[in-house]
């Protein structure tokens, strides 16, 4: 056991520290802050999810996909431990399926986010679980297709609805950029361009890590389904983002 106040209280999620914190949960949040960035925005009639995937090896052909489709109209992106993210994606898929099997309607995004947050919160209460080291952004449409939905669930089990949200290493600069947007009037393609720009903009140049961009969306053009952004549009968005950065550097 080490020294100092609170030491020795971080060995299990089932133990409070003397000032009422659960250190295991805070460590899980740290795990998210050490990973790449994920962004979700809710535009006028669209949801766009974006994530940057660090190129971990020069020999890697292509990074594995990180955005997941959970049910027809709902997608997710995430930051944190990659294996935890995948486990949660599969958990959500299972939940969507069982909901549909039981009620014969698609699960509303809010209900999915609440159920996911219960699952994640449960992993913060007992000593035989480790909290999930992942923050999940859920985005998509409910069955009536009326309004885009966006929710973020954190390792502690906190879940809120957002107009735009970010998580990962540079979540604060990303949030600063997101706050500048006129979200209620943002069209689908414009939103894709914006997400690509922000992910490039917040990328830490000094670390000089190559990264790959992955974008997915749900909007009227996709029939409200969650699908990857078409390669042609993705290329265009990346090009525009790089041009924006060059212009900024010149100025």
């Amino acid at each position: 056991m080490s020294h100092g106040l609170g030491s020795g209280y971080d060995l299990s999620a089932g133990t409070y520290s003397q000032d009422g914190r659960v250190f295991q949960v805070e460590y899980a949040a740290k795990a998210v802050e050490n990973s790449g960035n994920a962004i979700g925005i809710r535009g006028r009639d669209c949801v766009v999810l974006g994530v940057d995937k660090p190129r971990v090896s020069e020999m890697l052909v292509r990074a594995a996909p990180k955005n997941a489709t959970l049910s027809q109209n709902i997608g997710m992106t995430s930051a944190g431990l990659v294996a935890d993210c995948r486990t949660l994606a599969n958990w959500c898929r299972e939940e969507c399926r069982s909901y549909k099997n039981q009620y014969h309607t698609e699960i509303p995004v809010r209900v999915l986010s609440e159920r996911l947050s219960l699952e994640m919160q449960e992993h913060t209460t007992t000593s035989y679980y480790r909290p999930y080291g992942a923050t999940v952004i859920l985005g998509g449409f409910d069955e009536d297709h009326t309004k885009p939905q966006l929710f973020m669930v954190e390792p502690s089990g906190k879940s809120f609805g957002y107009r735009a949200c970010s998580c990962g290493m540079n979540q604060s600069p990303a949030r600063t950029e997101l706050e500048k947007l006129d979200l209620p009037n943002l069209g689908a393609e414009e939103a894709v361009m914006t997400v690509a720009r922000i992910l490039h903009q917040i990328h830490d140049e000094s670390k000089n890590l190559a990264f790959e961009l992955e974008l997915s969306w749900a909007c009227a053009a996709t029939g409200f389904r969650h699908v990857p952004v078409p390669p042609e549009l993705l290329a265009r968005a990346e090009e525009a983002a790089k041009r924006f950065l060059e212009e900024r550097d010149h100025a």
């Binding site: 039981q102 009620y103 014969h104 309607t105 509303p108 209900v111 009536d144």
Partner: protein
């Protein structure tokens, strides 16, 4: 007297002999331009014995959804109780009204799961955010949406009437009249339907009104004669009479005597 190994076996043998407690029934649901009406007769029979003459076969699943039950009385009661419980949890999670489609499918799934043990047939009617809906969930548990639907043993007598009479976009009053007439016709021809007509009217503003029609309209001559006789016996309320006739005495059906009086009389 036959000996039974257990009381359960005795009960099942008795039920088998009587044919179980059935809702030999006439039920109906119909959509109109601002909601949906569902109705039923009120007879529950055990073979030829009327076990209950004022049964309520319309069960409220949620504030905006009703189910009309037919088949085995116990089976349909237990299934609709379960579904009511499930739907309450569901609408709490949704924080909204649940859809009629969900309710119908939930009944259908349960009925299918227990199809070997249960005899159920439902009409699910209600109003949700997408408007009024009627789903028919008959014996094999398909779920079928229909603008109007009839069920129970009495329904076979009135298919022709309903086909000929139903119109789209009826008003509420027209729809109530349609359902009342159709059920009356079924109740007069079907031996295991009868009693009063119970109605539930659900409108697009999520209001529900229950009605009880104790004096269903009669159509055939035979039933008119029967009704006149019953009215004379004081079983039915009198028809609208002119004021001069209103105060005429009506014959009581039974003369109830105080206990002991008969013994004292010579």
């Amino acid at each position: 007297m036959q000996a039974f190994a257990t009381p359960e076996q005795a009960f099942h043998e008795a039920l088998k002999a009587k044919g179980g407690v059935d809702l030999g029934t006439s039920i109906m649901a119909c959509r109109f331009n601002g909601g949906v009406v569902c109705g039923s007769d009120s007879r529950t029979s055990t073979g030829s014995y009327v076990a209950n003459r004022i049964t309520d076969k319309l069960t409220q699943l949620t504030p905006n959804i009703y189910v009309c039950r037919s088949g085995s009385s116990a089976d349909t009661q237990i299934l609709s109780d379960y579904v009511r419980y499930f739907l309450e949890m569901h609408s709490l999670e949704l924080d909204n009204r649940c859809s009629v489609y969900t309710a119908a499918h939930m009944l259908g799934d349960l009925a299918y799961q227990y199809k070997e043990q249960m005899q159920t047939s439902f009409l699910v009617a209600g109003v949700d955010s997408t408007g009024p809906h009627i789903f028919c969930v008959p014996l094999g548990s398909p779920v079928i949406e229909e603008p109007w639907s009839i069920g129970g043993s009495g329904s076979s007598y009135i298919y022709g009437h309903c086909d000929a009479t139903y119109r789209e976009n009826m008003t509420q009053d027209e729809c109530i009249q349609f359902v009342t007439n159709a059920l009356s016709l079924a109740m007069q021809r079907d031996g295991s339907s009868g009693g009063v007509i119970r109605l539930a009217v659900m409108t697009n503003d999520f209001k529900v009104e229950r009605r009880l029609i104790t004096d269903p309209p009669s159509f055939s001559r035979a039933s008119t004669a029967c009704k006149t006789a019953r009215r004379r016996l004081g079983l039915l309320s009198p028809p609208a009479l002119s004021p001069s006739l209103v105060f005429l005495p009506r014959f009581p059906l039974f003369v109830v005597s105080a206990p002991g009086r008969a013994a004292r009389s010579p």
